[in-house]
């Protein structure tokens, strides 16, 4: 079953390119550490999921690239083509000349409706190439104009056009001290709109990834490329073919569906977080050894570091809310093949209160700005009125209170 990726805005396109790069690199690598048959099954499952075959033999990524300015897309396409091992379809991209100017209203109300037909056509073409569509994986940032505004619009369109497919939005939470001043407005508007049309929001915080780069990977001068590579690695580890608990003999046929089934039991709680260990610089990989017990313990500690609880295993009922049976709440996916040069690695996708504090922060800051009506004229210029702002605030307040009451 295939996943179609929709890359929106500068952030989305740069991360998407890294993700496909990582997946392709992993598939081609010989660090499988498992039997050849296993390796081939893995290879097939992976390529079917993310790539389609082209005549030239080079796998073509199942992706649609959208941006309002041409520079990033041309850069992305050329980097992918240069690698020689995979590439993007030359037709599956859409760009304009002007950019969105970090303005959510511009992306949502102007660029969205204007370009809806073209973008949806591109998506439909990609979908037709798939035998079975598992769902959509959209990558966007929340702080900018295209990723956030146009992203919210496109998600809505996807939901209207494909009501039975899963939509997983991968959202980049901006730095707390971000360079875009109106990022809080953009984030609030994006989140409230995405909550309605998306099935789940997988969140990566720039601050957290930055810390991983600095502390665990010991990178001195962290560029966006490093951050994107870490994110790509984490995403890849989740989306790689794996055996679920029920079907332990072959790879999961419905990755997105399985993911959502266990993690999003209630439509009010859609925010997912991702943790992956180990993360270390490539040079130290050769010298490290891992054990499953150690890794899982570490993961659990990372999980409960966000929620204050004591030791236990993942099946401990105190980790979960009262209305959820711990047996159903925890799902294990295993794969015998190693991922991306790590001998053993573990990832944890969780739906928890970890995002509560950042969300609260962002909403608070946005509200402060809104109280003095700063920058609102930039949004009203394009058709987003103050009532829309207020609606978004109320929606997010509700999400916050639901998560707090867990």
């Amino acid at each position: 079953m295939s996943i179609v990726a929709v890359q929106l805005g500068q952030c989305g396109n740069q991360i998407g390119q890294e993700v496909f790069n990582t997946i392709c690199g992993d598939v081609r690598g010989t660090h499988g550490l498992c039997s050849k048959k296993e390796n081939e099954a893995y290879h097939d499952a992976c390529t079917e999921r993310f790539f389609s075959e082209a005549e030239s033999g080079v796998p073509v990524a199942r992706a649609v690239l959208v941006d309002m300015e041409p520079k990033v897309i041309s850069q992305t396409l050329s980097i992918a083509a240069r690698s020689g091992h995979w590439k993007y379809n030359d037709q599956s991209h859409f760009c304009q000349k002007q950019g969105s100017g970090n303005n959510w209203a511009n992306g949502y109300s102007v660029h969205g409706p204007r370009n809806k037909e073209v973008i949806m056509n591109l998506v439909r073409k990609e979908v037709e190439k798939c035998d079975r569509l598992s769902g959509f994986f959209t990558i966007m940032s929340m702080a900018g104009g295209t990723g956030s505004g146009l992203g919210a619009f496109v998600t809505q369109c996807l939901r209207d056009a494909f009501p039975t497919s899963f939509i997983l939005n991968h959202v980049i939470w901006p730095y707390g001290t971000g360079e875009v001043i109106v990022q809080n407005y953009n984030s609030v508007l994006t989140l409230s709109h995405l909550y309605q049309s998306s099935d789940a929001l997988l969140v990566h915080e720039n601050d957290v990834i930055h810390k991983i780069c600095a502390q665990l990977m010991h990178i001195k001068q962290i560029s966006f490329r490093d951050v994107n590579q870490v994110i790509a690695h984490q995403l890849g580890s989740v989306f790689q073919p794996a055996h679920t608990a029920e079907a332990s003999l072959h790879y999961s046929r419905n990755p997105l569906g399985d993911l959502m089934e266990t993690l999003v039991p209630h439509p009010e709680f859609k925010m997912l977080g991702l943790r992956n260990i180990p993360q270390m610089p490539e040079n130290s990989l050769a010298y490290s050894t891992f054990s499953w017990h150690g890794l899982l313990k570490h993961l659990r500690q990372m999980l409960i570091a966000n929620a204050k609880m004591e030791e236990g295993s993942f099946r401990d009922p105190s980790l979960y809310t009262s209305w959820l049976n711990p047996q159903d709440a925890f799902n294990e996916w295993k794969t015998p093949r190693a991922f991306n040069k790590y001998e053993k690695s573990a990832s944890l996708v969780s739906n928890s209160q970890f995002l509560l504090k950042p969300l609260d922060n962002v909403v608070g800051k946005a509200w402060n700005m809104f109280a003095s009506k700063a920058y609102v004229h930039q949004y009203t210029k394009f058709g987003i009125e103050e009532e829309d702002f207020l609606d978004s605030f109320t929606a997010l307040e509700q999400v916050i209170s639901s998560y707090t009451n867990l």
């Binding site: 500068q10 740069q14 300015e69 041409p70 520079k71 990033v72 850069q75 304009q96 000349k97 002007q98 950019g99 100017g101 970090n102 303005n103 104009g145 360079e179 875009v180 001043i181 109106v182 560029s223 966006f224 490329r225 009506k373 700063a374 920058y375 004229h377 930039q378």
Partner: protein
Amino acid sequence: MGEETFHVFLFHPPDGLLRIFLIEIVFCNCILWGKHEACCGRVHFKVFITLNNKKSKRELYSNICCLIFYYSSKLGMLLFFRSAGDGPDIYKGKICSLKARALLIDMEEGVVNEILQGPLRDVFDSKQLITDVSGSGNNWAVGYKVYGCQYRENIVEKLRKTAEHCDCLQCFFIIHSMGGGTGSGLGTFVLNLLEDEFPEVYRFVTSVYPSGEDDVITSPYNSVLAMKELNEHADCVLPIENESLFDIVNKIHHMVNSGKLGSTVKPNSLVTSSAGTTKKVQEKPFDAMNNIVANLLLNLTSSARFEGSLNMDLNEISMNLVPFPRLHYLVSSLTPLYTLADVNIPSRR
């Protein structure tokens, strides 16, 4: 310059909060010709010639030729030419194929004629000029009312022609002074015109404010009258003051000539330098100051011209820094002003 320069802009919008924009200059090795400017300006035209010096692969040179013209007859023109490596002559020949997306308007012929006789004569053609003979006499009213009415159709027609050449018109750059007659009077008239003819296109105005010891007696009147127009019709104003430019030039001059040990400055790294120009000696006193402004405008648009990991376009800058429609005056700063030749000496912070 073979290494990157980081130019930090500190913008102090009136609400008192300090915002810092970091714009990274990335040197690229492509050659850009022709009218492919994604962001085309009006009195703003960039001609970028970057070449990869094939002999020394370890260093990537970038040849940037940038021109900025001033409306008023008081200020001189700016020329940036940095030749690097071999064969500048081969490339000089190709400059003829480029045309600036610009309109030069002046009510006196002196400055514009000088430009047309200089090395950039091929970049401008006669269809882009509007000149008169007598000048405005440092009188805002003459510039705005008299010449405005007289030249209105002419200006509109030429504007439309230039705009038609653009695939996607993003913004207008208006560069003028506030103290004179043509720059402030006719300049603000044109600003009005742009709002009427092209309402959705951003209007960025770079205004040169007169200093305290300006020798034009009526400059306060002209400035105040022009300010009113700027308030209403400009989307974003970057004020520049002659006195501060002069201070910067003095500082650099002092640094270069102070003769302190280890304080030799790398050649061509001065923000005021127009190294490699056809003029070996800086004839006019305003050249250094104009170079600073040219650098400023160059850096402001560098993210739109080069690829990077985080692109900040002009409309993003305006979106982030203009909280309320009438508070659109941005203060800009530039660092570093020079690069020390000896890297072991810690730079002044």
